[in-house]
Symmetry: C2
Subunit: 200 residues, 2 copies
Amino acid sequence: MKIVIVGGTGTIGTAIKNELSQRHEIIIVGNRHGDFTVDITNDNSISMMFEKIGTIDALISAAGSVHFGLMEEMTAKEYKIGLENKLMGQVNLVLHGIPYLKDGGSFTLTSGSACHDPYRYGSSPAMVNGAIDGFVVGAAIEMPRGIRINAVSPSILDESLEEFGPYFRGFTPVSAKKVAFAYSKSVEGSQTGQIYKVWS
Amino acid sequence: MKIVIVGGTGTIGTAIKNELSQRHEIIIVGNRHGDFTVDITNDNSISMMFEKIGTIDALISAAGSVHFGLMEEMTAKEYKIGLENKLMGQVNLVLHGIPYLKDGGSFTLTSGSACHDPYRYGSSPAMVNGAIDGFVVGAAIEMPRGIRINAVSPSILDESLEEFGPYFRGFTPVSAKKVAFAYSKSVEGSQTGQIYKVWS
Protein backbone atom coordinates (compact mmCIF):
# COMPACT_ATOMS: atom_id res chain seq x y z
CA MET A 1 0.00 0.00 0.00
CA LYS A 2 0.94 3.64 -0.44
CA ILE A 3 0.54 5.23 2.99
CA VAL A 4 0.91 8.89 3.95
CA ILE A 5 1.87 9.70 7.54
CA VAL A 6 1.16 13.34 8.41
CA GLY A 7 3.17 14.12 11.52
CA GLY A 8 5.50 11.39 10.35
CA THR A 9 8.59 13.05 11.81
CA GLY A 10 7.32 12.97 15.42
CA THR A 11 7.76 10.27 18.06
CA ILE A 12 4.58 8.39 17.17
CA GLY A 13 4.99 9.06 13.45
CA THR A 14 8.47 7.56 13.45
CA ALA A 15 7.25 4.45 15.28
CA ILE A 16 4.42 4.05 12.76
CA LYS A 17 6.92 4.38 9.92
CA ASN A 18 9.18 1.72 11.49
CA GLU A 19 6.23 -0.66 11.73
CA LEU A 20 4.58 -0.07 8.36
CA SER A 21 7.65 0.52 6.15
CA GLN A 22 8.46 -3.20 6.53
CA ARG A 23 5.52 -3.95 4.24
CA HIS A 24 4.43 -0.73 2.52
CA GLU A 25 5.50 2.41 0.69
CA ILE A 26 5.54 5.25 3.24
CA ILE A 27 5.36 8.97 2.49
CA ILE A 28 6.36 11.16 5.43
CA VAL A 29 4.73 14.59 5.78
CA GLY A 30 5.84 17.03 8.46
CA ASN A 31 5.20 20.70 9.06
CA ARG A 32 8.86 21.51 8.36
CA HIS A 33 10.58 18.27 7.33
CA GLY A 34 9.71 15.09 5.44
CA ASP A 35 9.02 14.00 1.87
CA PHE A 36 6.38 16.74 1.78
CA THR A 37 5.38 19.49 4.20
CA VAL A 38 1.93 20.71 5.24
CA ASP A 39 0.34 23.26 7.55
CA ILE A 40 -2.77 21.39 8.71
CA THR A 41 -4.45 24.65 9.80
CA ASN A 42 -4.33 25.90 6.20
CA ASP A 43 -6.85 24.59 3.65
CA ASN A 44 -4.67 25.51 0.68
CA SER A 45 -1.64 23.83 2.15
CA ILE A 46 -3.64 20.60 2.65
CA SER A 47 -5.05 20.76 -0.90
CA MET A 48 -1.59 21.28 -2.36
CA MET A 49 -0.19 18.36 -0.36
CA PHE A 50 -2.82 15.97 -1.76
CA GLU A 51 -2.39 17.31 -5.30
CA LYS A 52 1.36 16.67 -5.15
CA ILE A 53 1.05 13.19 -3.62
CA GLY A 54 -1.90 11.96 -5.67
CA THR A 55 -3.87 8.78 -5.06
CA ILE A 56 -3.09 6.81 -1.89
CA ASP A 57 -4.34 3.80 0.04
CA ALA A 58 -4.20 5.26 3.53
CA LEU A 59 -3.78 8.57 5.32
CA ILE A 60 -2.50 8.46 8.89
CA SER A 61 -2.45 11.63 10.95
CA ALA A 62 -0.29 11.81 14.05
CA ALA A 63 -0.28 15.60 13.96
CA GLY A 64 -1.82 18.52 15.78
CA SER A 65 -1.16 20.69 18.80
CA VAL A 66 -3.34 21.60 21.75
CA HIS A 67 -2.98 23.95 24.73
CA PHE A 68 -2.21 22.49 28.14
CA GLY A 69 -3.24 24.72 31.03
CA LEU A 70 -5.38 25.08 34.13
CA MET A 71 -9.04 25.55 33.25
CA GLU A 72 -9.36 28.53 35.58
CA GLU A 73 -6.52 30.34 33.80
CA MET A 74 -7.93 29.66 30.33
CA THR A 75 -10.40 31.48 28.10
CA ALA A 76 -12.04 30.44 24.84
CA LYS A 77 -8.87 31.60 23.10
CA GLU A 78 -6.73 28.81 24.58
CA TYR A 79 -9.38 26.15 23.86
CA LYS A 80 -9.55 27.30 20.23
CA ILE A 81 -5.88 26.42 19.68
CA GLY A 82 -6.64 22.72 19.94
CA LEU A 83 -9.98 23.02 18.13
CA GLU A 84 -8.35 24.72 15.14
CA ASN A 85 -5.16 22.67 15.12
CA LYS A 86 -5.41 19.10 16.46
CA LEU A 87 -9.18 18.77 15.81
CA MET A 88 -10.02 20.68 12.63
CA GLY A 89 -6.52 20.18 11.21
CA GLN A 90 -7.07 16.43 11.26
CA VAL A 91 -10.72 16.70 10.17
CA ASN A 92 -9.64 18.86 7.22
CA LEU A 93 -7.15 16.17 6.20
CA VAL A 94 -10.15 13.84 5.99
CA LEU A 95 -12.51 16.25 4.20
CA HIS A 96 -9.87 17.15 1.59
CA GLY A 97 -8.45 13.65 1.42
CA ILE A 98 -11.53 11.61 0.49
CA PRO A 99 -11.15 12.13 -3.30
CA TYR A 100 -7.53 10.97 -3.12
CA LEU A 101 -8.22 7.71 -1.28
CA LYS A 102 -8.63 4.50 -3.23
CA ASP A 103 -11.83 2.49 -2.76
CA GLY A 104 -11.59 0.73 0.59
CA GLY A 105 -8.79 3.05 1.74
CA SER A 106 -8.51 4.33 5.28
CA PHE A 107 -8.03 7.37 7.46
CA THR A 108 -6.48 6.97 10.90
CA LEU A 109 -6.51 9.99 13.21
CA THR A 110 -4.88 10.50 16.59
CA SER A 111 -6.84 11.49 19.70
CA GLY A 112 -5.74 10.64 23.26
CA SER A 113 -6.80 9.31 26.63
CA ALA A 114 -7.58 12.63 28.40
CA CYS A 115 -11.32 12.41 27.79
CA HIS A 116 -11.48 9.07 29.62
CA ASP A 117 -8.59 9.29 32.07
CA PRO A 118 -8.24 13.01 32.86
CA TYR A 119 -5.18 14.79 34.27
CA ARG A 120 -4.55 18.31 35.59
CA TYR A 121 -3.97 20.90 32.82
CA GLY A 122 -5.81 18.56 30.45
CA SER A 123 -9.31 20.01 29.96
CA SER A 124 -8.46 21.21 26.44
CA PRO A 125 -6.90 17.89 25.33
CA ALA A 126 -9.93 16.14 26.88
CA MET A 127 -12.28 18.33 24.81
CA VAL A 128 -10.29 17.93 21.59
CA ASN A 129 -9.73 14.18 21.94
CA GLY A 130 -13.43 13.62 22.67
CA ALA A 131 -14.26 15.64 19.56
CA ILE A 132 -11.91 13.59 17.38
CA ASP A 133 -13.32 10.31 18.70
CA GLY A 134 -16.88 11.60 18.15
CA PHE A 135 -16.12 12.72 14.61
CA VAL A 136 -14.63 9.33 13.75
CA VAL A 137 -17.73 7.52 15.02
CA GLY A 138 -20.05 9.88 13.12
CA ALA A 139 -17.99 10.06 9.91
CA ALA A 140 -17.41 6.30 9.60
CA ILE A 141 -21.03 5.58 8.65
CA GLU A 142 -21.02 8.23 5.90
CA MET A 143 -17.75 7.35 4.16
CA PRO A 144 -18.13 6.67 0.43
CA ARG A 145 -16.60 3.79 -1.59
CA GLY A 146 -15.85 1.58 1.42
CA ILE A 147 -13.41 4.10 2.86
CA ARG A 148 -12.79 3.49 6.56
CA ILE A 149 -11.88 5.80 9.43
CA ASN A 150 -10.57 5.02 12.92
CA ALA A 151 -8.76 6.88 15.69
CA VAL A 152 -5.86 5.82 17.88
CA SER A 153 -6.13 7.13 21.44
CA PRO A 154 -2.78 6.78 23.21
CA SER A 155 -1.93 7.53 26.84
CA ILE A 156 1.38 9.07 27.90
CA LEU A 157 4.31 7.59 25.96
CA ASP A 158 7.42 6.04 27.50
CA GLU A 159 9.31 8.37 25.20
CA SER A 160 7.54 11.45 26.63
CA LEU A 161 8.07 10.67 30.32
CA GLU A 162 11.23 12.71 30.69
CA GLU A 163 9.44 15.86 29.53
CA PHE A 164 5.88 15.25 30.78
CA GLY A 165 6.24 12.63 33.52
CA PRO A 166 5.45 15.03 36.41
CA TYR A 167 1.97 15.63 34.93
CA PHE A 168 1.25 11.91 34.62
CA ARG A 169 2.36 10.34 37.90
CA GLY A 170 0.85 6.89 38.20
CA PHE A 171 -0.36 6.81 34.60
CA THR A 172 1.11 3.61 33.11
CA PRO A 173 3.11 4.74 30.07
CA VAL A 174 2.95 2.93 26.75
CA SER A 175 5.73 2.60 24.19
CA ALA A 176 5.48 4.31 20.82
CA LYS A 177 6.09 0.85 19.36
CA LYS A 178 2.92 -0.48 21.02
CA VAL A 179 0.95 2.58 19.91
CA ALA A 180 2.17 1.99 16.33
CA PHE A 181 0.48 -1.44 16.32
CA ALA A 182 -2.90 0.30 16.63
CA TYR A 183 -2.24 2.28 13.43
CA SER A 184 -1.25 -0.97 11.71
CA LYS A 185 -4.53 -2.54 12.86
CA SER A 186 -6.47 0.42 11.48
CA VAL A 187 -4.66 0.54 8.13
CA GLU A 188 -4.12 -3.18 7.51
CA GLY A 189 -7.36 -4.43 9.05
CA SER A 190 -10.96 -3.93 7.98
CA GLN A 191 -12.58 -2.22 10.96
CA THR A 192 -14.13 1.23 10.83
CA GLY A 193 -15.53 3.73 13.32
CA GLN A 194 -13.26 2.34 16.03
CA ILE A 195 -11.33 4.15 18.74
CA TYR A 196 -8.22 2.10 19.54
CA LYS A 197 -7.39 2.90 23.15
CA VAL A 198 -3.73 2.23 23.81
CA TRP A 199 -3.33 2.55 27.54
CA SER A 200 -3.07 0.26 30.53
CA MET B 1 -31.53 26.15 45.48
CA LYS B 2 -31.36 28.98 42.97
CA ILE B 3 -30.97 27.33 39.57
CA VAL B 4 -30.42 28.99 36.19
CA ILE B 5 -31.55 27.10 33.08
CA VAL B 6 -29.96 28.50 29.91
CA GLY B 7 -32.08 27.26 27.04
CA GLY B 8 -34.91 27.08 29.52
CA THR B 9 -37.56 27.90 26.93
CA GLY B 10 -36.84 24.84 24.77
CA THR B 11 -38.34 21.37 24.93
CA ILE B 12 -35.73 19.96 27.30
CA GLY B 13 -35.45 23.22 29.25
CA THR B 14 -39.18 23.27 29.88
CA ALA B 15 -39.13 19.67 31.11
CA ILE B 16 -36.22 20.48 33.44
CA LYS B 17 -38.14 23.48 34.77
CA ASN B 18 -41.23 21.32 35.39
CA GLU B 19 -39.13 18.84 37.37
CA LEU B 20 -36.96 21.23 39.38
CA SER B 21 -39.44 24.07 40.03
CA GLN B 22 -41.29 21.73 42.40
CA ARG B 23 -38.41 22.12 44.86
CA HIS B 24 -36.26 25.08 43.75
CA GLU B 25 -36.18 28.66 42.53
CA ILE B 26 -35.75 28.55 38.76
CA ILE B 27 -34.43 31.34 36.53
CA ILE B 28 -35.15 30.82 32.85
CA VAL B 29 -32.70 32.21 30.30
CA GLY B 30 -33.42 32.06 26.57
CA ASN B 31 -31.85 33.69 23.55
CA ARG B 32 -35.00 35.74 22.96
CA HIS B 33 -37.43 34.99 25.81
CA GLY B 34 -37.25 34.16 29.52
CA ASP B 35 -36.44 35.93 32.79
CA PHE B 36 -33.16 36.95 31.16
CA THR B 37 -31.73 36.58 27.66
CA VAL B 38 -28.25 35.62 26.51
CA ASP B 39 -26.32 35.03 23.30
CA ILE B 40 -24.02 32.16 24.30
CA THR B 41 -21.67 32.89 21.39
CA ASN B 42 -20.95 36.34 22.84
CA ASP B 43 -18.60 36.71 25.82
CA ASN B 44 -20.03 40.09 26.84
CA SER B 45 -23.58 38.79 26.72
CA ILE B 46 -22.64 35.89 29.03
CA SER B 47 -20.81 38.20 31.44
CA MET B 48 -23.78 40.57 31.59
CA MET B 49 -26.17 37.68 32.25
CA PHE B 50 -24.16 36.50 35.24
CA GLU B 51 -23.74 40.06 36.57
CA LYS B 52 -27.50 40.59 36.46
CA ILE B 53 -28.38 37.24 38.05
CA GLY B 54 -25.64 37.16 40.69
CA THR B 55 -24.76 34.19 42.87
CA ILE B 56 -26.44 30.87 42.11
CA ASP B 57 -26.33 27.24 43.20
CA ALA B 58 -26.51 25.62 39.80
CA LEU B 59 -26.22 26.46 36.11
CA ILE B 60 -27.91 24.13 33.66
CA SER B 61 -27.35 24.58 29.94
CA ALA B 62 -29.75 23.01 27.47
CA ALA B 63 -28.68 25.42 24.74
CA GLY B 64 -26.63 25.44 21.59
CA SER B 65 -27.04 24.74 17.91
CA VAL B 66 -25.09 22.54 15.55
CA HIS B 67 -25.16 21.89 11.79
CA PHE B 68 -26.73 18.69 10.49
CA GLY B 69 -25.49 17.65 7.07
CA LEU B 70 -23.76 14.98 5.01
CA MET B 71 -20.03 14.92 5.71
CA GLU B 72 -19.19 14.93 2.01
CA GLU B 73 -21.16 18.15 1.52
CA MET B 74 -19.56 19.90 4.48
CA THR B 75 -16.41 21.98 4.93
CA ALA B 76 -14.73 23.27 8.08
CA LYS B 77 -17.21 26.16 8.00
CA GLU B 78 -20.20 23.94 8.80
CA TYR B 79 -18.33 22.09 11.56
CA LYS B 80 -17.39 25.42 13.15
CA ILE B 81 -21.06 26.30 13.69
CA GLY B 82 -21.41 23.63 16.35
CA LEU B 83 -17.91 24.21 17.74
CA GLU B 84 -18.61 27.91 18.28
CA ASN B 85 -22.22 27.56 19.39
CA LYS B 86 -23.14 24.31 21.16
CA LEU B 87 -19.57 23.53 22.31
CA MET B 88 -17.82 26.81 23.13
CA GLY B 89 -21.11 28.53 24.01
CA GLN B 90 -21.65 26.02 26.80
CA VAL B 91 -17.96 25.98 27.78
CA ASN B 92 -18.00 29.78 28.03
CA LEU B 93 -21.00 29.56 30.36
CA VAL B 94 -18.76 27.44 32.60
CA LEU B 95 -15.61 29.58 32.31
CA HIS B 96 -17.55 32.79 33.05
CA GLY B 97 -19.86 31.18 35.57
CA ILE B 98 -17.38 29.71 38.07
CA PRO B 99 -17.10 32.91 40.16
CA TYR B 100 -20.90 33.11 40.44
CA LEU B 101 -21.38 29.55 41.69
CA LYS B 102 -21.63 28.89 45.41
CA ASP B 103 -19.21 26.40 46.97
CA GLY B 104 -20.36 22.93 46.01
CA GLY B 105 -22.52 24.30 43.19
CA SER B 106 -22.87 22.56 39.85
CA PHE B 107 -22.78 22.96 36.12
CA THR B 108 -24.80 20.61 33.91
CA LEU B 109 -24.22 20.78 30.16
CA THR B 110 -26.06 19.06 27.32
CA SER B 111 -24.31 16.83 24.80
CA GLY B 112 -26.06 13.99 22.91
CA SER B 113 -25.84 10.41 21.77
CA ALA B 114 -24.41 10.94 18.26
CA CYS B 115 -20.81 10.20 19.29
CA HIS B 116 -21.83 6.75 20.56
CA ASP B 117 -24.82 5.88 18.40
CA PRO B 118 -24.22 7.68 15.09
CA TYR B 119 -26.80 8.59 12.46
CA ARG B 120 -26.61 9.96 8.91
CA TYR B 121 -26.10 13.77 8.76
CA GLY B 122 -24.69 13.56 12.31
CA SER B 123 -20.88 13.84 12.01
CA SER B 124 -20.91 17.40 13.35
CA PRO B 125 -23.18 16.61 16.33
CA ALA B 126 -20.99 13.55 16.98
CA MET B 127 -17.88 15.76 17.05
CA VAL B 128 -19.47 18.43 19.23
CA ASN B 129 -21.09 16.03 21.69
CA GLY B 130 -17.84 14.12 22.08
CA ALA B 131 -16.06 17.42 22.77
CA ILE B 132 -18.60 18.41 25.44
CA ASP B 133 -18.34 15.03 27.16
CA GLY B 134 -14.55 15.22 27.03
CA PHE B 135 -14.49 18.75 28.45
CA VAL B 136 -16.74 17.70 31.33
CA VAL B 137 -14.46 14.78 32.21
CA GLY B 138 -11.36 16.99 32.04
CA ALA B 139 -12.85 20.03 33.78
CA ALA B 140 -14.41 18.09 36.67
CA ILE B 141 -11.05 17.35 38.29
CA GLU B 142 -9.97 21.01 38.17
CA MET B 143 -13.12 22.66 39.54
CA PRO B 144 -12.45 24.88 42.58
CA ARG B 145 -14.46 25.00 45.84
CA GLY B 146 -16.18 21.66 45.38
CA ILE B 147 -17.98 22.83 42.26
CA ARG B 148 -19.21 19.90 40.17
CA ILE B 149 -19.80 19.47 36.44
CA ASN B 150 -21.71 16.79 34.53
CA ALA B 151 -23.27 16.40 31.09
CA VAL B 152 -26.60 14.94 30.05
CA SER B 153 -26.42 13.06 26.75
CA PRO B 154 -29.94 12.47 25.39
CA SER B 155 -31.00 10.49 22.34
CA ILE B 156 -33.86 11.58 20.07
CA LEU B 157 -36.81 12.93 22.07
CA ASP B 158 -40.39 11.71 21.80
CA GLU B 159 -41.25 15.37 21.36
CA SER B 160 -38.90 15.74 18.36
CA LEU B 161 -40.07 12.69 16.42
CA GLU B 162 -42.57 14.56 14.28
CA GLU B 163 -39.83 16.85 12.96
CA PHE B 164 -36.78 14.56 13.02
CA GLY B 165 -38.20 11.03 13.09
CA PRO B 166 -37.15 10.14 9.51
CA TYR B 167 -33.49 10.63 10.49
CA PHE B 168 -33.81 8.36 13.54
CA ARG B 169 -35.69 5.27 12.36
CA GLY B 170 -35.26 2.52 14.89
CA PHE B 171 -33.69 4.78 17.51
CA THR B 172 -35.77 4.32 20.66
CA PRO B 173 -36.98 7.81 21.59
CA VAL B 174 -36.90 9.09 25.16
CA SER B 175 -39.33 11.53 26.74
CA ALA B 176 -38.18 15.01 27.75
CA LYS B 177 -39.54 14.13 31.20
CA LYS B 178 -37.11 11.20 31.47
CA VAL B 179 -34.24 13.35 30.21
CA ALA B 180 -35.10 15.95 32.88
CA PHE B 181 -34.46 13.39 35.62
CA ALA B 182 -30.80 13.28 34.57
CA TYR B 183 -30.46 17.04 35.15
CA SER B 184 -32.09 16.58 38.55
CA LYS B 185 -29.54 13.85 39.37
CA SER B 186 -26.70 16.13 38.36
CA VAL B 187 -27.95 19.19 40.27
CA GLU B 188 -29.44 17.51 43.34
CA GLY B 189 -26.89 14.68 43.64
CA SER B 190 -23.19 14.80 44.46
CA GLN B 191 -21.57 13.19 41.41
CA THR B 192 -19.10 14.99 39.16
CA GLY B 193 -17.38 14.32 35.83
CA GLN B 194 -20.28 12.10 34.78
CA ILE B 195 -21.96 11.74 31.39
CA TYR B 196 -25.60 10.77 31.98
CA LYS B 197 -26.61 8.85 28.87
CA VAL B 198 -30.36 8.96 28.46
CA TRP B 199 -31.13 6.53 25.70
CA SER B 200 -32.39 3.00 25.34
